[in-house]
Symmetry: C2
């Protein structure tokens, strides 16, 4: 048996931007396995923007995390004890095991890790939920066509960086919006974006974006919202398609932010805006994963990870991700891979 | 030949809400017909919200009307002289002949009036552009399903009243938003809406709409925008479809109005918002018109018209329409039908 299970609980509901004291590290013991259960040792924990929403009291598309409950999160781990037929000892698995060193599962919504020759950490990134989010949401809603201009906000994040590269693979002109010069350089030099804007270097998002998109914007994939999206909306072309994946600029707002009314623009440009959650595409996951794996294996789809060591540092990693410290996928390493 | 052609010109670009002095009535003479042309005597002129946009200097989806140019507008008229093969003397035609008593045309984008047993005025309303706008936009974007809740703003107008009745024909629960108790009574008592809200009777659009839509909103067809749309967005269900047809609350704004940011809601509800112009559905007009005619003939689709007499009163009719004085289609009668 495991001596102790360290866990990170939600200690308090954040007011505005979360603090480390909104979390609490505790030691707990694990019960014995019941038939049909197995025990997972966490290796990597994913921290993602959606977790900010779960810290609020208000039900959105999912239930909030309760006070003193383990924070939700996707984890890659190894099965180290099992009374389950499918998930035997030694299997590498990915599931919503939460912010903790060990988890007991009955296999519900758990997958065997299948990242081919790529590291198992990619099961939380380019070959996991973020990669599927990018692939399914972008292709379904934006329907990118060769030669079109695609703008991606949050472009250096786990989802945005995949969207931009898929857009390049589809023959589009791709412009990223990100929050540092290092990110801009990464997007253009490493990932092959045609251009990128460091939005922290200017107040004139509209003017800068117009320079980078002389033909206007046909597809906008939005992870950020707020004034960056206002500028993008102002530049859309006729029949533009806008996918709303995230609104990270709004997650810490204490009341609904005001902004310019945008609906008239949608008539003028006969344009479409659609919000989505990756779960709605579950029937396409298998095909999407095959394509993503193929692109990763052949080097057409690149990824970067930022890894913080130790479960105790997960709150800091999460806060840094919310502040945009990460380039690519933000992970927490909890224990060694086998 | 015609002695004189009275015309209404755009005299000045309106600042905010237009005034009668933004228009000017003039007498002009008509040139002789060239081969391939015909002369139309105007019978009914349509005044519509889109005309407000054309009075501005800024190009939107169409060119602005120039100062001292005849105001644009759809007209039903009779051919009274012709050097055109198809459009012979005595034909009743509908086209963009403008705010004037007579017009010379070469037949471009002119249709023979085909309203069956319905009066020719319907070629500007339920069996014209407003009817097609309602039919094509609502069915394509909203994809209404039996039992769903549909909300229509501007519900007593030429487009909204058709949308609501089509929604009823599709088995939906239909709630209209309109600007007077008389309109509310008309929607419910005459057109068969399940409920309607007089938005001028309350400040609590959200609370009132929630009462009328206890199951939430699956489809929202928006002619109005502004705070009414904010309330509707707050009540949408998962996978809601929102068609943006007009934003009449915004047309007289002198700068972009601010409102609550709505994009997050689209993620939470996996919802779609789409703006459209009726012209994009031109390939469906024939089929749409057949269905609309059938419904009108069988009494399933009702309509009302508000008719102001005399070309000289067209500016007043237009301003009254912008202020919501009309129930149903606002028309100006310019001369007698044959």
């Amino acid at each position: 048996m495991v001596p102790l299970n360290r866990q990170i609980l939600l200690a308090a509901r954040p007011v505005g931007f979360p603090k480390e004291t909104d979390f609490r590290l505790v030691d707990s013991s694990l019960p014995d396995l019941a038939p049909g259960q197995f025990l997972v040792r966490s290796i990597f924990l994913s921290v993602d923007p959606y977790m900010r929403g779960r810290m609020n009291d208000r039900k959105s598309y999912a239930e909030p995390v309760g006070i003193d409950e383990v924070m939700v999160g996707g984890v890659v781990g190894e099965v180290i004890e099992s009374q389950h037929e499918k998930f035997g000892v030694g299997k590498l698995v990915v599931g919503m095991f939460g912010w903790q060193e060990y988890a007991i599962s009955d296999g519900t919504e758990v997958r065997i890790v299948d990242t081919g020759s790529a590291p198992i950490s990619t099961a939380l990134g380019v070959l996991g939920m973020p990669g599927l989010t990018a692939y399914c949401g972008f292709l379904d809603i934006c329907q990118p066509k060769e030669g079109e201009t695609v703008v991606v906000s949050g472009a250096a994040g786990a989802v945005g960086s995949v969207v931009g590269q898929i857009a390049k693979l589809k023959g589009c002109q791709v412009v990223g919006v990100a929050g540092s010069d290092a990110k801009v350089a990464h997007l253009v030099d490493d990932l092959g974006f045609d251009a990128a804007l460091n939005y922290k270097s200017t107040d004139d998002y509209y003017g800068k974006l117009r320079e980078l998109c002389p033909e206007g914007i046909d597809c906008y994939f939005d992870n950020v919202g707020g004034p960056i999206s206002d500028a993008a909306f102002a530049l859309i072309n006729r029949f533009a398609r806008i996918a709303i994946c995230g609104q990270i600029s709004q997650y810490n707002a204490q009341k609904l932010e005001q902004g310019p009314r945008l609906l008239w623009k949608l008539i003028e440009k006969q344009a479409k805006v659609e919000g989505f959650l990756v779960f709605q595409y579950v029937s396409q996951f298998r095909e999407a994963m095959q394509q993503l794996s193929e692109w990763v294996d052949s080097g057409k789809l690149k990824y970067r990870e930022r890894i913080v060591d130790g479960l105790e540092n997960a709150p800091r990693a999460f806060l840094e991700m919310l502040q945009g410290e990460n380039i690519g996928k933000q992970l927490v390493k909890i224990s060694e891979a086998p």
